[in-house]
């Protein structure tokens, strides 16, 4: 199963690369640098436990949507776009702290 997981994610990355390639006439070998960390962040913000065993796909969609909404939202509120990463980091930390507080509460009960 682990083996198939990694084959599958490779295939999906190929699909994602194709979708990125059709968006612009330029194919850049540096495309997607840093995206892996953003993806992990989206998955975790979406409620998937980093130690495994808990999570669902709808949460992941919501998490990715939240993180990718930051940039347009900043433009809308006319805040400098350079705050995007800081706000992303803040959201990730909020999500993990909320998760940590919840599991702490559960342990105490």
């Amino acid at each position: 199963m682990t083996f198939l997981n990694f084959v599958f994610i490779g295939a999906l990355t190929g699909l994602a690369a194709m979708m990125a390639a059709v968006q612009s006439p330029l194919v850049d070998p540096n495309a997607g640098v840093g995206l892996e960390l953003l993806v992990i962040a989206g998955v975790v913000v979406g409620g998937v436990s980093i130690s495994g065993g808990r999570g669902n796909l709808w949460g992941v969609f919501a998490g990715l949507l939240l993180l990718s909404c930051i940039s347009p939202a900043l433009t809308y509120f006319s805040i400098s776009a350079y705050w995007e990463k800081a706000i992303q980091g803040g959201i990730i930390l909020l999500a993990v702290v909320a998760d940590g507080l919840r599991s702490r509460k559960n342990k105490n009960n």
């Binding site: 070998p29 960390l37 992990i40 962040a41 975790v44 980093i50 130690s51 400098s80 776009a81 350079y82 705050w83 995007e84 990463k85 800081a86 706000i87 992303q88 980091g89 803040g90 990730i92 930390l93 993990v96 702290v97 998760d99 940590g100 507080l101 702490r104």
Partner: protein, 349 residues
């Protein structure tokens, strides 16, 4: 560590991870000495084999070496710190801003940057120990946060330049014939080596990495030890940021981008288990040397950086497989070698 090699004699010393890695480093060095050294039209030797090139490699590796050094105790405890590169960036920016905009003196600005580094490490430590959150995800968050702060402070465009020569000396000149930042690196390396290999702290790091609950029951102050390694990483990352600024003569928001993965590569290549509990500082130093010689050697041999990145990846996978294969062959469960004994006697209840 040396405990296994002592009990099995020279044979296991020759087969130890550090020794094999040392041989790889020497082989790399000899390879590039012959591949990347040439004579130019005036008859002067240029390329890898010159003293200047060697010093240049040391100079360029100093910051990553510092990050790898403090990453070692963190990975020993079974944790990870993805935020060191971002802490480097934000400290460099704070240093530049304090000096340039707030008119601090250079030593005061350095202190300010180190305090920022310590608080950044402190934030990591707080979240990891207080809520017992996984270090991977906490430092992934602070990785974005600190880099974002650096970009927000500079609006992505300002770079602080015009530092006095006395400061740039630290990054660009020679002191007693060697690169001026080298003594700092050596001092930090000795400090971390003593911490991990000659103090009870090192043993508690291994104990925490091997079995955190066991370490807690053995009476180790697990939270305090963890906080210590993350704050140390923050401070040294800030120091690396100052050296980086001095080397380039400018403080910019993208300082040290990607350095965290470089440092983790060097640590894992050096034989430290990513699951914690097993590893050494001298292994990390060899790992840094292996990656640095490979990258700089390929660029001096007019190869592309992509090829260097690819070969670094291949080297890492080979090193990981090399440590796994004997275990599979002897069918022992992983991570049974060098079980650390706890420094304090287990309280009997």
């Amino acid at each position: 560590m040396s405990s296994t090699s002592k009990s099995h004699g020279w044979k296991s010393l020759l087969l130890s991870h550090e020794f094999i890695l040392f041989a790889v480093v020497v082989a790399e060095w000899i390879f590039f000495y012959f591949i990347a050294t040439s004579k130019n039209y005036t008859g002067h030797t240029v390329g890898f084999g010159t003293m200047d090139a060697q010093f240049d490699i040391l100079r360029h590796t100093c910051e990553i070496g510092l990050l790898a050094l403090v990453m070692t105790p963190i990975i020993l405890t079974g944790g990870i710190d993805l935020s060191v590169g971002s802490v480097l960036g934000v400290s460099a920016i704070i240093f530049g801003k304090l000096w340039h905009d707030e008119h601090f003196s250079i030593p005061a600005a350095i202190c300010g940057a180190l305090i920022i580094g310590a608080s950044a490490g402190g934030l990591n430590a707080f979240l990891i120990t207080w809520l017992r959150l996984p270090p991977l995800i906490v430092t992934l968050g602070t990785y974005s946060l600190f880099r974002g702060l650096a970009e927000a402070i500079t609006h992505g465009s300002i770079t602080y330049t015009g530092f006095p020569d006395s400061f740039n000396y630290l990054g660009q000149e020679r002191w007693l014939g060697m690169p001026a930042q080298l003594p700092i690196f050596v001092i930090v390396a000795i400090g971390v080596w003593l911490l991990v290999h000659r103090m009870t702290f090192g043993r508690s790091f291994r104990a925490i990495g091997y079995a955190p609950e066991g370490a807690r029951y053995a009476g180790l102050p697990v939270e305090r030890r963890l906080a210590m390694v993350y704050v140390l990483a923050g401070v040294v990352a800030a120091l690396a940021g100052i050296i980086y600024t001095a080397r380039l003569g400018e403080a910019k928001a993208d300082s040290g981008t990607g350095y965290e993965l470089f440092a983790i590569t060097a640590v894992v290549l050096g034989g430290t288990s990513i699951f914690g509990g097993v590893g050494s500082v001298h292994g990390t130093l060899l790992g840094v040397a292996a990656v640095a010689i490979l990258k700089n050697g390929i660029s001096l041999a007019h190869g592309s950086t992509e090829m260097a990145d690819m070969l670094t990846g291949v080297l890492l996978i080979l090193a990981l497989s090399a440590s796994i294969v004997p275990k599979i062959l002897s069918k022992r469960p992983a991570r049974v070698q060098t079980v650390p004994s706890t420094p304090q006697p287990t309280p009997t209840t």
